[in-house]
């Protein structure tokens, strides 16, 4: 059985919360019923069928075709199945997702993978700010799962993140790993925004590039061959070709500990190429 396909007729005029269309929520719902489901577009309700043409199929293989940049909360709280977005995705992609996979072929908006608990999100393009972070007012960001961004990520990657892993193959914006509680962030691109690790408590930020501006509250602990990096690379093997290239080299890293301005015991590891 092939997948359930939603093909966008035309981008909506206002933003639409798409969190009601997940593999979990569409189990046993036929195409006609899906077309009749009501979504909120701005201040008016709109049927799924008005926005998309629905081709029936397996809801565990849900495909969204078209520029979905105005559709927010795609895959929120999902626990199973796969959502493939053949285009861009809006804000809060995979919010509080627990399991399954999301693959976005284009870019994702702000707050992708926020409060992610499990599962895997792959973004072929770029991701906005606060990737893997927490909503305003929430104390904890992403707490599990894996996020892979093939392009660049915005500012504050992994804000308040407490578990799981984020791989950004391109560059990252400013204040990466801000207020990070635990977990692992790898940025493989050469361009690193200023002041990574701001108010970082614990966790690992692994960087291939060197930022222009660094916080003075990180203490240089010297260069080391850390064997846990071999475990990390093995655990992430096959997820990122760029990362797999690294795994054949000796994991020699310069370790900076901080953020000492907040008594943090986190680390920034600069991978020596």
């Amino acid at each position: 059985m092939s997948g359930l396909v939603l093909t966008l007729r035309a981008p909506p005029k206002q933003r639409v919360d798409l969190s009601s269309l997940t593999p979990d929520k569409l189990q046993g719902v036929d195409a006609a019923a899906i077309a009749n489901l009501s979504l909120q577009c701005g201040n008016r309700p709109v049927a799924v069928g008005e926005l998309f043409t629905v081709t029936s199929g397996d809801p565990d293989d849900l495909r969204l075709i078209g520029d979905c940049g105005r559709f927010d909360r795609i895959g929120a709280e999902m626990t199973r199945g796969t959502i493939t977005v053949e285009g861009n995705a809006g804000a809060y992609l995979g919010h509080a997702m627990r399991g399954g996979r999301i693959h976005v072929r284009g870019n994702a908006g702000i707050g992708a993978a926020q409060e992610l608990r499990g599962g895997e999100i792959t973004i072929d393009g770029n991701a906005g700010d606060f990737l893997g972070g927490a909503r305003p007012g929430e104390m904890k960001g992403m707490s599990g799962g894996l996020v892979i961004v093939r392009g660049d990520a915005g500012d504050r990657v992994g804000d308040r993140m407490r578990r799981g892993a984020i791989i950004v193959e391109g560059s990252i914006g400013s204040y990466a790993a801000s207020r990070m509680i635990a977990g692992t962030i790898l940025a493989l691109g050469p361009a690193i925004g200023p002041y990574p690790g701001f108010a970082m408590k614990r966790g690992s930020l692994i960087l291939l590039g060197r930022p222009d501006r660094e916080l003075p509250s990180f203490a240089d602990c010297g260069r080391h061959d850390l064997s846990f990096l071999r475990l990390l690379l093995r655990a992430l093997k096959g997820r990122s070709p760029r990362l797999d290239e690294l795994s054949i080299r000796t994991p020699l890293v310069q370790r900076l500990a901080g953020d000492q301005s907040v008594g943090g015991k986190g680390e920034i590891l600069f991978w020596q190429d």
Binding site: T184, F228, R230, L232
Partner: protein, 298 residues
């Protein structure tokens, strides 16, 4: 039953239920992994006084270990999960954490977990780092040559301890050579260890003693120098006996090792002074597992 001139006595080995686990110790070189493993499994011949029984299962290639370095697989057997927990903490803490360049990983992931890094992490004095990678949680404990990396927990399995064979021969050198051949063959069997020094034990014991408070004493029935003065189990031509004790994850593993060991000892044959193969038991009342030698060799 006679194999290559060696009589297989119509008796059985009696073995007990134990709790066991497997650790994978890695290091910068095979030699350093072996050093840590030897230290970890030292003084672990019998639960009577060592707290556990432990041995090296086999060396591991770099491809077989979690961190891609050469290593050694070690099996540890205890009488209970509680005993095993204490031994794990003490032995890994004193013998692997201390050994240059090593890391320690769970070789069993299923079964009731025991703490590994979870018990040792406090050594990091607040500088220890927890890393959850996939389904596994690891600890990074800063030490003077870098970091000691260790799995948080290790799984356990119900196991079988105390399987055994007795090799009876015409002379001490003949029995020793047969025991060496048997041990070499048995070490290739997976999921078993031979916890005694060099794989064999000369001080086979019986339950109880004439002395109060001594729970086990020399098995005088198998001591060749007492042949005349005690109720002996030895034929007149037997001059020495060695026992090989086998602990395994399963009864099948112990049975396979028993068979391999007897076959290797018998291969030396009566011509080389190997006279008889027997086994130790307590009349079948104490142990749950019985390995009848003739059935094992059938």
């Amino acid at each position: 039953m006679i194999i290559n001139g060696v009589e297989i006595e119509d008796t059985f080995a009696e073995a007990f239920g134990m709790t066991a686990t497997r650790l994978l110790i890695t290091a910068d070189s095979p030699a350093w992994a072996a050093t840590a493993a030897a230290s970890l499994t030292g003084f672990a011949t019998s639960v009577i006084a060592c707290g556990c029984e432990a041995g090296i299962e086999r060396p591991l290639t770099a491809e077989e270990t979690p961190d891609g370095r050469p290593g050694v697989a070690v099996l540890i057997f205890g009488m209970s999960a509680k005993d095993l927990q204490k031994q794990l903490r003490d032995r890994v803490g004193q013998c692997v954490l201390t050994c240059a360049g090593t890391a320690c990983f769970a070789g069993l992931r299923d079964g009731a977990p025991l703490k590994l890094g979870g018990a040792l992490r406090y050594f990091g004095d607040g500088h220890q780092i927890s890393k959850r990678l996939g389904e596994r949680r690891y600890w990074r404990i800063p030490v003077m040559d870098g970091e000691f990396v260790c799995d948080d927990t290790v799984g356990t399995t119900k196991a079988v301890g105390g399987g055994n064979i007795l090799i009876l021969g015409a002379s001490r050198p003949a029995v020793l050579a047969a025991a060496e051949a048997a041990v070499a063959a048995m070490r290739a069997v997976p999921e078993v260890i031979l916890p005694f020094p060099g794989g064999s034990v000369r001080s086979g014991s019986k339950v109880g003693s004439k002395y109060k408070g001594l729970i086990a004493s020399t098995n005088d029935a198998y001591c060749p120098t007492l042949k005349g003065e005690t109720k002996t189990a030895l034929p007149p031509e037997v001059a020495a006996v060695l026992e090989i004790v086998i602990d395994g994850f399963t009864a099948d593993a112990v049975r396979a090792a028993t068979r391999t060991g007897i076959a290797a000892a018998c291969a030396r044959g009566a011509a080389n002074g190997v006279l008889k193969i027997s086994a130790g038991n307590y009349g079948g009342k104490l142990g749950k597992y019985h390995f009848h030698l003739r059935e094992v060799m059938a």
